[in-house]
Amino acid sequence: MTDSISVFLPDALAPLDRLAGLRPLRGEGCYLGTLGGLRIIQGVQGVFVRGSLPKYLNGENALPLTRQAVRAALGKLETESGMDLKIGRVYQLETACTLPVNDPPREYLAAWGPLARFKKSTHGNGDTVTLANGGRSFSGYDKGEEMAPEALPCPLAGLYALRLESCWKRGLKRLYGRLLNPWEASEPEAYGQAVRAWAAFYFKIPKRREVCLSMDGMTPKGFERTLAALGLQSLGLDRAQEIIRDGLASGALDRVKASRMRALFRELAKDERITNTDPLTAEIDEKVRAVARFAR
């Protein structure tokens, strides 16, 4: 499931004669070129390698690589470039998986709400949703739309495909406890950690839930909460957050009140007594759990 990887190889020399599109960069002896789609930069202190391993190995990244296939890609890179990846340090890592789904991916992505400390952005008429901050990002997008549905490879051909990508832009050391070389990052333990972090992030995203208005054992307080949940559902989590932000900006709300209101949203949106998991969300939840279970 490893997709893009960024590796720094200190004191290494790039195989400039084998790179395509080679051009000089600022600084003496600095060059940029590509090797099978991977960007290779020869810097003053060493070599930077960045790119998608599935694209490098298979020419496309719609189908996730298994752990063994990741190692095959690293082996191919070592052979073709002549560089020893064992001296490298992985400083960015993207873990991704394409999930075959029954409905257009934008319908699944529409259920995603805002997440604290992450900026949510939506592009392409809801086909792409990204939650990002300086250190991490998580995106969901329509892979079929990106590749054109007929271009999706075999098991996905003719289906809707939702791609979930988790990227560690900084602070990869926090995930592993130390910096790893690419071979170490593809060992079962580290690889499993990255896959589990991918799944954990997905489950952290608040998602729209269906409100169930059942009067069995209903109390006035419960009724009030159910109506509030219905109101929140019709307003949408994004719009509700926006209203609070506007209130803060205009000075109508102070930070404590705003924080309490957000906490109320979160509580109402997650309350299992008055809400059920949306069927579309349940479909993706099941698939993410299945993929993370064995972390192949």
Binding site: L63, P64, L65, T66, Q68, A69, T98, L99, P100, V101, N102, P153, C154, P155, L156, A157, G158, L159, P188, G192, E283, E286, K287, R289, A290, V291, R293, F294, A295, R296
Partner: protein, 180 residues
């Protein structure tokens, strides 16, 4: 919809629901798929074994391992069985449905076990060993059929093929006897 290249059906050897041996009761597909034709040395019956991973005492379970393995009998008398594939059953929402790869990692398999009926169905997809998991996810979304592609119509079996558009319709037997 993706369709398998072979469908192999097995039935548990013992009728009391015990035991790990499954006998081959039939298959669909063009010819036979050699990795699943595993004859017993003494009788020549093709069988497979569905075993549970055995944990070594004192070791923690390896979560990456599939819970089950598909194994073939040993080639010679007294030989241990050969492992064909792990069977991963990752989804509690779809119990007894799993995936694996044979070859290894050459061909994908999807498995469906029915403990009550004592049956095991193995769907084989040639050349998709590395995409076994994606195939499984498609299967749970209804993107994979459990039946082979229907055979193409055999020309000549049901009369002459239709004429290409624009050509003369000559599908008429001309009388060979000429009355004079």
């Amino acid at each position: 919809m993706k369709r398998p290249d072979f469908v192999y059906r097995f039935k548990r050897h013992r009728e009391d629901g015990q035991g790990t041996r499954f006998d081959l009761v039939g298959w669909d597909g063009p010819g036979c798929y050699a990795p699943l034709m595993c004859p017993l040395k003494r009788s020549g019956e093709p069988v497979v074994y569905v075993n549970r991973w055995r944990l070594k005492a004192g070791t923690a379970p390896d979560l990456r391992k599939g819970g089950l393995t598909l194994a073939a009998p040993g080639k010679r008398k007294g030989d241990k069985g050969r492992n064909l594939s792990s069977i991963y059953e990752p989804s509690p929402e779809h119990p007894a449905q799993g995936f694996g790869d044979l070859g290894p990692r050459v061909d994908a398999i999807l498995t469906r076990r029915d403990e009550l009926a004592g049956t095991l169905t193995v769907l084989v997809f040639l050349g998709l060993g590395l995409q076994a998991e994606t195939l499984f996810l498609s299967w749970t979304s209804g993107g994979v059929s459990e039946e082979l592609a229907p055979a193409p119509p055999i020309l000549g079996g049901g009369g002459l093929p239709p004429s290409p558009p624009g050509s003369l319709n000559n599908n008429v037997h001309l009388a060979t006897d000429i009355e004079t």
